[in-house]
Structures are given as structure tokens and as C-alpha cells.
């Protein structure tokens, strides 16, 4: 079988400010409905990159704001509990947030409003995809490279590829699948990357590939 090499890429973000703001759950719902999908992506993934060294990592921006600014702990927890990894498209994730807010507002649960200074500011990002000099031609090379590439590269192939570029699966799993290494591909796909630090994720993937190489 011909093996296509794996070209490691990386990504950088430039943050865009949108003019949509929210000061209560109702305005948050309006905002989530109308902002571009890149904004939903930004607010559900920003912490992963900016706080990648933290364990546990903070949840998505919506959950953080609801919990720490509006002190709506139940609603914040509902947002934090959304199983991001189970969504294949950002629009589906947006719908999940809308459902939570609609349900919450419908049952007239506790609400709150913040001062202007603490409003939720919707943002989005421009993603720049860049090549790196690293190319793996087999699992051994893949492990060695994965051990040294930047966190941004790991982030790109796991999160960005699937949720931003809406590929069916993360790039690593797709590559192992293309080589017929289905178990390895599946094991990488089964990781919930949202509840582990990026360094932890790097170690976990290397250990999966290492076990595969040993067999």
C-alpha cells in the first residue's frame, strides 16, 4: 500500500471584534443566533489555546461569563457541560446553545443583568493555516515529530481541522485510517480533547501510536 506522507501544518488566529454584545441571557441568545459561525468556534475554543497549560482548563467563554459575571451557575454549568466533541458541525453546536438558552428562558429560571463594563462581547477570528517543515512517512516518524511540533500544530490537526474546517474527523485519525491502522485511528478519535490539556493530549496520542508501533 502506498502511504501518503503526513504534512504537519499549524495555524494562527487574528481576533475580530464584532459589534454584538449581551448583558443578560436573553441578549446572549440573540447574539448566538446572529453571529457568524466563526464566532461560535472562537468562543468555544479560545480557552483551549490561551490556557492550554491549565488543568482543569476553563470552560467555553459563554459558560465562563454566565457563571462568573452573571452568577447564573446552573445555566453556566449547562453551557460548560455541552459535549463539544460530539458535534461535527459548528452550526450544530450553535443550535445546542440556542436550545439550552431557549429552554432556560422558557421556564423563567433565575436571570441576571450585568453592568455595561461586563457585557459579553462577541468576537470571531481569522484563521491562517501555515505549513511547517515537518513531514512523517510512517508512525515512528509521526511520533518523533508530534513530540516536538508546536502546540498550535497539534491544535490545528485535532480541533481546527474538525470543527473549523468541518472535516469528518481529526487529521491524525484520518491519516492512520488511510494506512489501514483502524484501531489506532479509532483510539485517537475516542479521546475527548476538550477535557485534557494540550500537552496531555500530545502525550496520550504518542502513547497510542507507540502501542500501535509495538504490535
Amino acid at each position: 500500500m502506498t502511504i501518503n506522507p503526513f504534512y504537519f501544518k499549524t495555524r494562527l488566529h487574528l481576533v475580530k471584534l464584532l459589534t454584538t454584545k449581551a448583558k443578560n441571557p436573553s441578549e446572549l441568545l440573540q447574539g448566538i443566533r446572529i453571529v457568524p459561525v466563526s464566532s461560535i468556534y472562537y468562543h468555544t475554543h479560545r480557552f483551549l489555546r490561551q490556557h492550554h497549560y491549565l488543568s482543569p482548563e476553563p470552560p467555553n467563554d459563554f459558560a465562563f461569563w454566565l457563571t462568573n459575571i452573571l452568577y447564573l451557575r446552573e445555566l453556566g454549568e449547562l453551557f460548560a457541560g455541552v459535549d463539544t466533541v460530539s458535534y461535527k458541525k459548528m452550526e450544530d453546536l450553535r443550535s445546542a446553545f440556542i436550545r439550552i438558552l431557549e429552554g432556560y428562558l422558557k421556564r423563567k429560571a433565575p436571570s441576571a443583568e450585568c453592568a455595561d463594563a461586563y457585557k459579553f462581547h462577541f468576537m470571531s477570528c481569522i484563521t491562517f493555516v501555515l505549513p511547517t517543515p515537518y513531514v512523517a512517512k510512517n508512525p515512528e516518524e509521526f511520533m518523533k515529530i508530534l513530540d516536538k511540533v508546536s502546540i498550535d500544530s497539534l491544535y490545528f490537526h485535532i480541533f481546527e481541522a474538525r470543527m473549523r474546517l468541518e472535516r469528518d474527523e481529526n487529521d491524525f485519525s484520518a491519516w492512520f485510517k488511510s494506512m489501514g491502522r483502524i484501531k489506532t485511528a479509532q483510539a485517537i478519535s475516542n479521546i475527548d480533547p476538550y477535557t485534557i490539556t494540550l500537552e496531555g493530549l500530545r502525550r496520550k496520542i504518542i502513547s497510542i501510536v507507540s502501542a500501535d508501533a509495538a504490535n
Partner: protein, 406 residues
């Protein structure tokens, strides 16, 4: 002269490689920065450090300064204050003169860049030449824009809207504009005197000079003596904590001796501190960066209890030194601190005192906040990230869409 590779031990080679890669994509494009002063102020400070670094990585960046007389700068000072929300009347002939000076500078400009990057309101009307020149134009606002005087912002909007992009330092400063608005936060330079590593001897010398006891906890706020930094509130917080925990307070900062309000605040602070030898009020002369650095490094906890703040880079400075920081959730501070992850955000004197007691008594927790804070600054608020964002901004002007596969 600093070299870009000097930053590798701090941010890693991957980061400097990325900068070179992005710079390569800008090859052949001239990046012209324009502001209104070559020395003094934050804009000149960052450009002084950034332009040589940009040139080292291969970006054809240069910097022009517009010229104006006392009348022009008196008007731009009024504009600046009005943008900060101060109620000031600006007369029609002052607007006219502002435009006249901008037009005169435009006529004298010899080489326009492929990207013209204009900083702050003073040179904003240069964009009138955009149609003739046909280049890319970005406007960078470095100031707090949350409550601008309406007639002034309406006047400026006529010009802002002609740019291709506007750049702000915090989300709260964004405006209702038809052009793309980008968030690029300010940064600190880890190799500057204010932030570079110091030896224990250097730190000890500063503490000895000011009679600060190294054996007891030191709580510090670094800021100029200004009501908006709430130094009296900080003394109140300290007094609430001092009842239970033996500690010292350091209030240190500079200020202009010809600023009557600053001297008044200083006098009030000295009076409030007079009865307690453990409160050290230090009015520092200009060029005290090493002293400030040492005081931050010697601190047990750093406070920034501002009532209003632009971006509040003193927070980034303290976090960079691994210090636990308790700061007000105002201006750009919430971007630097995620509450209980990389520091503490507070909203009141009471809350600040509560968390100060907690951090002084739980050094392990305080240490974790400080360590997380330092990593947050390393990843998001160093000059290398600032350079990267500027390179991305310049590149973004040549592409469409939200995903750019270069």
C-alpha cells in the same frame, strides 16, 4: 541592540520561526507606521522596540512621525481627553486646523507604504489620501474608547470608516463601524529593564534602599498617583488585612511634578499612610524601571485596584514575574486574568481584602495562580505575540474570508 533570537529562550524557537515565516509572506511590501511623536508615550516606546525587530525578520517596516506645532498638539490633547469622556468643547476652527496640519503632513510625505499603519487620532486624517494612493490602510487606536464625547467620535468616524481595518486594544473599545475591527492587545517586553530577570542582590539593594523588610509579606501596587488607581482604597484594603496578618504595603509609582492632581493624590496618600511605618509610599523619578521590576519581584502579592483602566499592563508585568495578582475587573484587566485560574478579579474593597487574606495565608494556591499567570502572559502578552498579530493584520489585508490557507 536586541535581536529576535534573544527571545528564543523565553518563547521557544517555534515562535520566532513563525514570525520569520509570516515576514516571508510580506516580502516586497513596505509597511509604513505613522504616529505623532518619536519619543515619550506608549506608542513611541513600542515602535522603538518593534521596528528594528520587524526589520531583522525581513519586514520592510519603517516609521514616520507627523509634524505639528503647539496649537495642533493642544487640539489633539483636547481630542484625546474628549475621547476619554471628558466634557470639552472643540471649536470648528480647531477641527479645521487639525485637518490643515494633517493635509500639510500628507503633502510632505515622500514615500507611502504598501500598508499605511496609522497610530491614534493625531494623524487619522491622512487617510484622505487613500483614494489617490490606493494602498492598504489600517488605523490603530491605543486609547480607551468606551465613553467618547459624541461630537468628537462623530468627527473621527468620518475618517475611521475610510480605513480598511481598525485595531483596538480591548473588546469594550470597539465601535459600530462598517469596516473590520480587530483585537490586538498591547504587550510587555520581557527583555526590557522593567521585566528582565534581576539578581537577588539587585532586588535586595532596592528593598534596603527603601527600608522594606524582606522577612514579612510585601503587598504592592505599582501605579502613578491618580484617583483612578484608588491608592486610598488600597490602604483601606491593607488595613482590613493587617488586623489579622502582619504584612507591609508598598505603593510605588511616578508622576509628573507639574500635575497638580497627582501631587494632591500623593499628599493624601502620604497622610493616610503617616501613622503606619509598614506602609511605604514611594514617589519614583522617571527611569525607575529597575526599581519597579525589583519591587514587583520582591512582592508576595501584587494589587491593581484601579477604578478605571486602559489596558493595565502593570498586571501583565506582575504576572510575568510569577506573582499572584488581585486586580479590579476593569478595562483590559479581565483579558489578562481569568478569575481563580491566573489571578483574582475583584469588584470591591471588601472582596479585595478577602482574597488578599486568602492568598497571604495560602501561599501554595497563590503560587499556582502566579505560575498560571506567568504562562498566560508568555502565551498572550509578550512583544513576540504583538509582532505576530501585526504581521497577521498586514497579511489579512491582502486576503478575503475567515480561513486563509497560505
Amino acid at each position: 541592540m536586541l535581536r529576535i533570537d534573544d527571545y528564543i529562550p523565553i518563547v521557544g524557537q517555534g515562535v520566532t520561526d513563525e514570525l520569520r515565516f509570516l515576514a516571508e509572506r510580506l516580502k516586497g511590501r513596505k509597511i509604513q507606521n505613522i504616529n505623532s511623536t518619536a519619543v515619550g508615550g506608549g506608542v513611541a516606546e513600542i515602535l522603538t522596540r518593534m521596528i528594528p525587530l520587524l526589520r531583522q525578520i525581513g519586514v520592510d517596516a519603517y516609521w514616520d512621525v507627523i509634524r505639528g506645532n503647539d496649537r495642533f498638539f493642544a487640539i489633539t490633547k483636547k481630542l484625546h481627553n474628549a475621547l476619554h469622556g471628558v466634557d470639552i468643547e472643540i471649536l470648528d476652527d480647531e477641527y479645521d486646523y487639525f485637518l490643515e496640519v494633517n493635509r500639510h503632513n500628507a503633502a510632505e510625505m515622500r514615500h507611502w507604504g504598501d500598508v499605511v499603519f496609522v497610530h491614534d487620532p493625531q494623524p487619522i486624517a491622512l487617510v484622505e489620501n487613500k483614494q489617490n494612493i490606493g494602498n492598504k490602510w489600517a488605523w490603530r487606536c491605543h486609547i480607551d474608547f468606551t465613553r467618547p464625547q459624541s461630537d468628537v467620535i462623530n468627527f473621527l468616524n468620518n475618517y475611521i470608516e475610510r480605513y480598511d481595518s481598525a485595531v483596538f486594544s480591548a473588546p469594550a473599545f470597539s465601535r459600530d463601524l462598517s469596516i473590520p475591527q480587530l483585537l490586538i492587545c498591547p504587550s510587555i517586553d520581557p527583555l526590557s529593564d522593567k521585566n528582565k530577570d534581576l539578581t537577588t542582590d539587585e532586588i535586595d539593594d532596592v528593598l534596603q534602599t527603601y527600608g522594606i523588610d524582606q522577612d514579612r509579606p510585601i503587598v504592592t501596587q505599582i501605579s502613578r498617583f491618580d484617583y483612578l488607581k484608588d491608592p486610598i482604597g488600597v490602604i483601606n484594603v491593607y488595613q482590613r488585612v493587617k488586623r489579622y496578618l502582619d504584612c507591609q504595603l508598598v505603593l510605588a509609582g511616578g508622576g509628573a511634578t507639574d500635575d497638580p492632581e497627582g501631587m494632591q493624590v500623593l499628599d493624601e496618600v502620604k497622610e493616610a499612610a503617616a501613622s503606619d511605618p509598614d506602609i511605604h509610599v514611594l514617589f519614583l523619578p522617571p527611569a525607575s524601571d529597575i526599581t519597579i521590576n525589583a519591587l514587583q519581584r520582591a512582592s508576595t502579592v501584587v494589587l491593581q485596584k484601579s477604578l478605571k483602566e486602559g489596558f493595565g499592563l502593570t498586571v501583565a508585568e506582575a504576572l510575568w514575574k510569577g506573582k499572584p495578582v488581585i486586580a479590579s475587573a476593569v478595562g483590559g484587566i479581565p483579558l489578562q486574568i481569568a478569575h481563580k485560574y491566573s489571578g483574582i478579579l475583584t469588584y470591591s474593597l471588601e472582596g479585595t481584602a478577602y482574597y488578599l487574606k486568602q492568598l497571604l495565608q495560602e501561599p501554595e494556591y497563590a503560587g499556582k495562580l502566579g505560575a498560571n499567570g506567568q504562562e498566560h502572559i508568555r502565551n498572550n502578552f509578550l512583544i513576540t505575540r504583538h509582532i505576530r498579530d501585526y504581521l497577521l493584520l498586514f497579511l489579512s489585508m491582502y486576503y478575503e474570508g475567515d480561513v486563509i490557507d497560505s
